[in-house]
Amino acid sequence: MAETTAATGRRIAFARLRDLALIPAIIAIAIVGQLVSPVFLRGDNLINVLQTMSEIAILVLAQALVLIVKKMDLSLESTVGLAPGVAAWLTVPVGAGHGLGLLPGGWSVPVTLAVGVLVGVINALFIIRFGLNGFIVTLGMLIVLRGILTGISGGQTFFRLPASMLYLGTEQWLGMPVSVWLCLILFAAGIVVLGFTSFGRSLYAIGGNVDAARAAGIRTGRVLWIVIVTASLLAALSGLLLSGRLASVASAQGNGYIFTVFAAAVIGGISLNGGKGTMFGAFTGILLLFMIQNVLTLAGVPAQWIGALNGTIILIALALSRVTGGKAQD
């Protein structure tokens, strides 16, 4: 019996540890980074890291929500481009900026978010209402949405964006970029909602066993709708920040992000089988990836070897988190 209690203790410890699984890896990277270049731990550099990761981090947050209810949303990466793209298309004056100038600039932010919601609703309709497989639906949507952006932009980049679109991406509050604030606030909110509200817990219940959740009186359909639409809305917001920071919307904005997003979420301990993982873990996941990139940049690694190193370090981080965090990967 003695071993069993010991085992029990260990199991519980592991369950806790899972959230912190990446901390050792992050510390390791930080040390290496500082050795590589004294710039690394300087405030401005750390803020750089946070700022450049903020938009993708919000995508990770969104994807994490969807994964926890055992769905997937690949189309997020296209929403990042399309939502601000449509807004720019409608508000940017005809001419150099390649827009139509149909709406006054003030409309750009509402339009961006509206597009996000619309995409979410379409996804939800396909997945929840018609019961199609989420992976393939959102894969289709990914292609469609990206295609639409290429279509309306003719492959060109929208710029001369209205001021309201630039604000979030460019302003600073208390010496820290707004996007960083937003990112941190959203994750804090995510941690609270998922960890300490009945709504948040219902996500885990649904991801763990949807029938059981229904039996326990959770309105699974409604929760799923909320999650899927929220995810798209967050993607639109992330796109807004990104195009604000770059003061433009490239027709390829967001392409290929989804890989990073999944890597971050899963390394961060979010399970693809639903019902597992925390927002804090997801945050450490994306933080780790961007710290690695920053260190590689500071180290001035030869251009053609960055990819290989990056991947290798990810794999090591993965193995590390596996060791410290128990079966963090399942």
């Binding site: 199991r11 519980i12 885990y204 039996a215 019902g275």
Partner: protein, 501 residues
């Protein structure tokens, strides 16, 4: 007496799945304070009725009323939960979540901040489990609990809503004798307090023990409803099966004590599970392994079948040393195996009856690893005939069968390679009385035909058929009982009480 409307009344309820008719114009009416038994063979529609009565599914036709008022909308889960609590046949435990959270899912305690106060939740959970004397750490993921503990979490949760009407769909199927006694004790308390029960079980003696009214379903239809006392067991079985019950007598010729042993375990141990187990099963002999939850009996059986590798000792099957922890080796040595939990280890749900039945004998299906479809279906048809599996054909996915027939498929697979040694774990769990009689009869025949049988089971009915029963207590074989023991003796031994000493 005042005529209070029944707690729940369902009339003319019809429910179809695709064009499978699960319920046809079925009706049931349960009065205040009753403990109402619902019996019927596998696939009779009991669980479907439960789904309708607990608002998980709307009936295609028919009405459900609670205390005379029409049932709430399906989406209004809270209204349903005030009216009825339920232990479903299918587990509603969420493995990733902690025991505490599973107990208070969607009704967490909120602190002043409006946020969940996990401390309170954990405390309440611990208190709740203590009243059931279930000793598990509520911070554990529920997935780490063993079958019995999980079942108790389900029961404890259902009974903790304070609902006045409680549905129990085969709550005892996964419990050992001691656990069942504990459960019934609690049910009796609640009966005192006037709580109404709908109780489903394939153990008819349980019906007679705690129920006052029984309703029988057959082929999706309501057959009869009457006071339990007024319906002797034979007639009950007849009502369920639609034919006069032929109670098979347990008369078996005494096995030949000189027959060669097909299983010889000497000083076998598995760290953390059991220690120094020695036992022998002779050809033509049926040996039972009894024990309480987590006693190790199942670990022992699984070791023989090659699912677990013993950490010490010798296992000989049919005279030759068996390779530890290798199922293929065990199969080659002539072991047929029915695993503990059919859903978890028994069959591949979306594969056909034929494929599941022949999974262990690929070499018999054709030359050079190829599968001759005709030969496979031929073998499958033979099994279907031999075990009277109720299926339209060998190509039906096993997921389409009812519980009892799924278990028959698993049994058929165990028999597929004409085993010299048959290892059965809870072979009749969740199987209706008729199928149970049938399966156990088959086991008898197998033994007659010269195979040895090792049965590790919670069900006294299974053990009663054995020539000898070995009692496992905390990982050690503590007693051996020849055929003809009394239930209380065995149960006592399983609890570690020595009556004779």
């Amino acid at each position: 007496m005042v005529a209070t409307p029944p707690v729940v009344e369902a009339t003319g309820v019809t429910k179809r799945y695709g064009s499978t008719v699960a319920l046809h114009e079925a009706a049931i009416s349960i009065d205040q304070g009753q403990t109402h038994a619902l019996v019927g063979r596998n696939g009779a529609g009991k669980s479907t009725l439960v789904n309708v009565l607990t608002g998980l599914q709307a009936p295609d036709e028919g009405t459900v009323t609670f205390a005379g008022e029409p049932a709430p909308r399906l989406t209004d889960r809270d209204a349903w939960r005030q009216r009825v609590a339920c232990v479903y046949q299918k587990s509603t435990i969420i493995p990733e979540l902690t025991v505490a959270e599973n107990l208070f899912l969607n009704r967490h305690d909120h602190g002043r901040s409006g946020l969940i106060s996990w401390k309170t939740v954990r405390r309440k959970a611990r208190e709740l489990l203590d009243t059931w004397s279930v000793d598990v750490d509520v911070r554990l993921p529920a997935g780490d609990l063993d079958v019995e503990q999980r079942q108790f979490v389900e029961i404890a949760r259902a009974l903790s809503f304070g609902a006045r009407f409680i549905v129990l769909d085969e709550p005892t199927a996964l419990l050992d004798a001691a656990a069942i006694t504990r459960l019934f004790g609690r049910i009796r308390d609640l009966q005192q307090q006037g709580v109404t029960f709908l109780f489903i079980s394939h153990h008819l003696e349980e019906i007679y023990e705690i129920c006052d009214v029984v309703t029988v379903f057959r082929d999706a239809r309501h057959v009869l409803t009457t006071a339990v006392g007024a319906l002797p067991r034979a007639e009950l079985v007849a009502a369920m099966t639609g034919e006069a019950a032929a109670e098979t007598a347990g008369a078996r010729r005494v096995p030949d004590v000189a027959a060669a042993p097909v299983l010889e375990m000497t000083g076998v141990s598995l760290a953390g599970a059991y220690e120094d187990v020695s036992l022998r099963v002779r050809a033509g002999e049926i040996v039972g392994l009894a024990g309480a939850a987590s006693s190790g009996r199942i670990a022992i059986a699984e070791t023989v079948a090659g699912l677990r590798a013993a950490t010490g000792g010798v296992v000989e099957i049919a005279g030759s040393l068996s390779q530890p922890g290798s199922v293929p080796a065990a199969l080659r040595a002539g072991v047929g195996f029915v695993p503990q939990d059919r859903h978890h280890q028994g069959y591949v749900a979306q594969m056909s009856v034929a494929d599941n039945g022949t999974l262990t004998i690929p070499d018999r299906l054709g030359r050079a690893g190829f599968i001759d479809g005709r030969r496979r279906d031929g073998l499958a048809r033979a099994m279907i005939g031999k075990l009277a599996i109720k299926t339209p054909g060998p190509e039906l996915p096993v997921s389409g069968l009812s519980g009892g027939n799924q278990q028959k498929v698993v049994m058929a697979r165990a028999l597929a390679n004409d085993p010299k040694l048959l290892v059965l774990i809870n072979p009749t769990a969740g199987v209706d009385v008729r199928s149970k009689e049938f399966l156990l009869g088959k086991v008898g025949e197998i033994a007659e035909s010269g195979a040895g049988v090792l049965v590790a089971s919670d069900e006294l009915d299974d053990l009663r058929r054995c020539d000898r029963v070995l009692v496992v207590f905390q990982g050690r074989v503590v007693a051996e009982m020849p055929r003809g023991w009394h239930d209380h003796q065995l149960v006592a031994a399983m609890e570690g009480v020595d009556l004779d000493g």
